[in-house]
Amino acid sequence: MELQPHIQHHIKLSEESLQKQTTTLNLGPTHPATHGVFQNIMEIDGERVMETVPTIGYIHRAFEKIAERRPYYQITPLTDRLNYCSSPINNMGWHMTIEKLLGLKLPKRVEYLRVIIMELSRIADHLVCNSVIAVDTGALTPFTYVFQYREKIYEIFEEICGSRLTTNIGRVGGFERNFTPASFTKLNDFLKTFPKVMKEFESLLNRNRIFIDRCVGAGPISAERAMNYGFTGPNLRATGVDYDVRVAQPYSSYEDFDFKIPVGTVGDVYDRFMVRNGEMWESVSIIHQALEKIEKIEKEFPDQKEVFYAKEADHFHIPAKEDVYTKMEALIWHFKIIMGEIDAPAGEVYHSVEGGNGEVGYYLISDGGRTPYRLHFRRPCFIYYQAFPEMVQGGLFSDAVITLSSLNVIAGELDG
């Protein structure tokens, strides 16, 4: 049967709908099993999925168009709302794009602080994804358990930048203010308690008979197909391709760190789950290394303790409030930055970072004005979600649901 793309607007039953042996099922746009606003019109034969047609765009907010009218620093809140499970990574990626355009070099301490924030948000992102796979396979306990630790990560973000989910963290050239001692205390507390919880989470699921039976072989994709579809991130690594932007094109001093890239073999739900688990352990190790490196820098150069942004980025960095109230120069810059009167040089930049779901890319064309001439977000979800019909075809309907959650499709990133 030819599926009608307009079926959501005008429900029309096809001529042969009374004779046909299969069932048309509308999954979404709001459905508890889709975790976001996606619609899939599925043709199922008993429990087998024969065909599925995804409809996307329900929360499209035209960020690329909005960005063409906004000064650079006002685009950061837009990037928050792409992948809202790991918005700090998007924020940092955007800052790094502008820094690349400006040719800025950041102090090592700032880059390591950024690495800490990015790895924390990777843990938060993967925790949500993996615990939701467990929910969809019928286990609610791990989800409620690890969500406390996602909460702890958000408390660290709150201590650093004042907000939790859509963070708008950092500025061009570094951070808006230095990390407080409390944020390091919270971070150390998290690092101390999280591994134990993570171990427990893994022991609940990794070798769980029911979980393995549900996940192994569900929604597989081969490495060739995944690469042809433009997969990146954990979903690509689950198929056995070790492509990680952090290693391939190191940014923010990732080349200084020693970490492994977990890979899977067959690219099914279980592989994706295990790759994400492995990455969380690596993230914890990266944060430990970053803290050590920062400590070493501070011991060697005590004045580095106060460095939280690049001095060359002064024209993009809002001065401290007490300076704004007392110094003419600071007041002028504050005004110019807030009014968006800072011009960036003309240029064409592509910069990408390893987001929670894969390569988050920013293609920026600047014509030398206060706003981008064109800004395009490479949104990994948008690119790999199109493989979903192929991945679930022929499988069980219940496998389609866990495939969707294991792909970690985030509606904000999907629809831009």
Partner: protein, 167 residues
Amino acid sequence: MGLTNEIIKQRLTDKFGDQITEWETPYGLQTFRAPADMNLKVMQFLYDDEELRFRFLTDLTAVHFPNRKGEELSVVYHLHNLIDNIRLRVKIYVPIEKPDVYTATQLFSGANWMERETYDFFGINFIGHPNLIRILNVDEMDYFPMRKEYPMEDPTRRDKDDEMFGR
């Protein structure tokens, strides 16, 4: 890591001669312009060639330049060679009256939605695309919103004009 920008340029010049123009490397990323009707030939060559092996389509998008008469729309491909870890940017230009570009869906399955998105926002007509319909916007929309002639805000509004800042 044997592949460099120079080798890419040499291989492409050997194959296509002076049909490939506007060689640039902004921020280290090799960029060039191919004729609009040759985008598939160039990408197929980049894909098949044993040395170049650009087999990963990172990104596909378009840019509108209203002032470039006869070549207003530009389609930009970002390709990636995952083996040698090097990126490449391919640009083609088409006139806005006849924005016809050959589809890359036969080469990269991932191009399907990226081309639909580009069609949706810029109206690029990808010839041979299996399902070229709108993807993020509503089906009833009858214009291409990312083109520069559609401003973000209502241009007739006067309440936002400011003597000092002019907007």
